[in-house]
């Protein structure tokens, strides 16, 4: 697929960032969580090519403006919905419920 993921040879991104020697495996709690949710569902339900294809379905403007684990999360959402494991409505309802509980 000729999408934004096909970055080999692109010009203009600039110097390589993050060349310091030390960095944590995950920058934040939610990066670790997104990784483990994806990992656990990938090995159980989705072949690796399907997971990559899901990442490639993220819209170019979003892809190029998101962080690595943000893309994982968006790909996970696509996979869960496409495979009928979770529906979009369930996700939105749950988000609203979490927001509501927070306000209380």
């Amino acid at each position: 697929m000729n999408g934004p993921q096909d970055l080999g040879g692109f010009h203009g991104f600039g110097k390589i960032p993050y060349l310091n020697k030390y960095e944590p495996v995950f920058d934040s709690y939610w990066e670790g969580r997104v990784f483990s949710m994806s990992f656990a569902t990938f090995i159980k339900y989705f072949p690796v090519d399907e997971t990559r294809y899901a990442a490639e379905k993220i819209k170019p403007n979003i892809y190029l403006n998101s962080s690595y684990y943000e893309r994982w999360l968006l790909a996970l959402e696509i996979l869960l919905i496409e495979n009928n494991l979770v529906t979009k409505k369930e996700i939105i309802d749950r988000e609203n419920q979490i927001k509501k509980n927070k306000k209380k």
Partner: protein, 197 residues
Amino acid sequence: MSEFSEELILKAKAIESLLIEKEIVDEDTLDLIVEEYEKNIGPHIGAKIVVRAWKDNEFKNKLLMEPTKTISEMGLIGFSGEHMVILENTSKIHNIVVCTLCSCYPWAILGLPPKWYKSFQYRSRAVIEPKEVLKEFGITLDDEIEIKVWDSNADIRYLVLPQRPNGTEKLNEIELEKLVTRNSMIGTEILTYNAKK
């Protein structure tokens, strides 16, 4: 790479609670996966393979010929290390590894890739100007040395076998393993050794 926005944290929370509620994944497994990659799986595994290859020529030949099998026999293969290829750096050839499409990487023996490896900058540039990229890592190679760039994919994972630094003949295995860095096994570092007095 910025922090997760509030909106994405909310999405992650919602998905997590649905996955647990529907028993698609359980919470303990989620904790365990994070812990494994934070504490147990990392470049120290690759370093063991490199040092053994430095010390044992027969092992090295076998490793180059049948990498996946040889690494499995050491008990070191795991997820994302199913089909390994070993790239030996020599005085004539310097190999570097990239994944232009995303972040394919030998997780089983190097852990999760560093941020620079996943960056758009490295992914886009390593295949067209590897020399310039290496300079940013502090490496200037002689003109005679051929640079080979390997673009990973979901099926093949590469491990660079770095050259053993001079002056390390007397070091034992553990000391040698400490010398072998993650970046040297991706090809963006050349190992050196300064004997302490």
